[in-house]
Assembly symmetry: C2
Homo-oligomer: 220 residues x 2
DNA sequence: CGGAGTACTTGCACAGGATGCAAAATTGCA
DNA sequence: TGCAATTTTGCATCCTGTGCAAGTACTCCG
């Protein structure tokens, strides 16, 4: 598996237990990955977003510059692992919903579960950081885009592959936009101390998705 | 105006006629900008997306490498001018809608007008190209993000600034997601010869927005 | 017309990003 | 323990992106 040396494009931080052999090697790679991501976050906090180099990240993580690039394509990508995990969780939750549940109910339940993510506050922090950095913003947007594709595929399979492509794409895109809006509002409010609880985020998500199900027909 | 030397972040390709003085300078800048964008597109078509350098683009456009970077931050950004123009048009159309028109009607009318864009086919082409290139995808997503911000601001002003931020962000995001979905379906269908007319795109946009106004309550 | 002022272009220098390659180090397992 | 598979690393190399200062083109106005 993964014979290439290039950065794994969808390396799951939440490991999917590939049947057997969790293996020491897999574990070590995960540790390295996490160490690099953590160092990147440290430096971003300490020096600001554009103000540190890959060499510094590698040094702080205790690996060589070259190894950094074996794991990530860029510093911003290393910062996006948290967001990726959050969206991965949403996809997993969705797939775990009972098959007979109405589609929109399942999506709502799955996405509200986002609030249960570990290091939620880090995600909020990154959300705010991205406002000031075009590169990080792009990386984050790309993460959402990938999630959209994954979830879209899951929805399609759930519905037997008979959905109108336009319906499918528009639905998933709109739903994720609502979640993004919810996170944006929540992250902005959570700027202060340790405000911004998981419950608050869940409220925002539910709120936004309610508006969606209502067709946005009641401006407020 | 524009005393900085850095690439203009929102240089309008559709010139807004700044009172007087279209001037030779402004004209030259526009020409250069267009020449660079055109060269980038040529090379992307000829060699594939990651397979050409900024130097080549600059050479083909007849400017120095340094000048290229005075106009764009990257090769991908040069490819995004068409998409930007398209979204700029949507924003302009929206702002031109009568103030007493219901909000959702105004958005629908404005966004359906996207199909009137010049070089629509180029936008479709880029949409398809982006599927295969992470960098271009990021650039395009960023363009949509910027459009979202602009349109969001316009909507907010139109409604007297009293909108719930969550409603505002969710609405605009969802609407643009629908338009994106419409373009995606349209672009995929337009892969063939000169299929994919403006009318087709408009149909997809209207279709997607109808689903949205319906709250996606009728899967199909 | 012509010259002063402004704006754009260019070459140069330089730090840093990104990747192929092959040697060296590490790890897993029989 | 010893070997095969996998990772890490250093090195070389090309490309990106930007500051700077000098050169060139345009604009305005007397």
């Amino acid at each position: 598996m993964n014979t290439s040396i290039a950065p794994a494009d969808a390396a799951p931080l939440t490991e999917a237990a590939d049947v057997v052999a969790p293996g020491r090697r897999e574990q070590n790679k995960l540790d390295t990955r996490r160490a690099i991501a953590a160092s990147a976050l440290d430096l971003a906090r300490a020096h600001g977003l554009g103000n540190f180099t890959v060499d510094q990240v590698a040094a702080e993580a205790g690996v060589s510059r070259r190894t950094f690039f074996n794991y990530f394509h860029s510093a911003e990508e290393a910062l996006t692992t948290s967001t990726d995990a959050l969206l991965e969780l949403a996809a997993a939750e969705f797939m775990a919903r009972p098959a007979d549940e109405p589609l929109l109910d399942a999506m709502l339940a799955a996405l509200a579960a986002i609030a249960k993510t570990d290091n939620l506050s880090v995600c909020g922090e990154l959300f705010r950081m991205a406002e000031g950095s075009a590169e990080l913003m792009r990386s984050q947007l790309h993460a959402w885009e990938r999630a959209e594709a994954r979830i879209g595929q899951a929805v399609n399979e759930r519905m037997g592959g008979n959905l109108d492509p336009l319906y499918l794409l528009a639905l998933v895109g709109a739903v994720l936009s609502c979640v993004k809006a919810a996170m944006q509002v929540w992250a902005a409010a959570a700027e202060n101390p340790q405000d911004g609880s998981a419950a608050d985020l869940e409220d925002q998500i539910v709120g936004a998705l309610s508006m969606l199900r209502d067709g946005f027909n009641h401006p407020r």
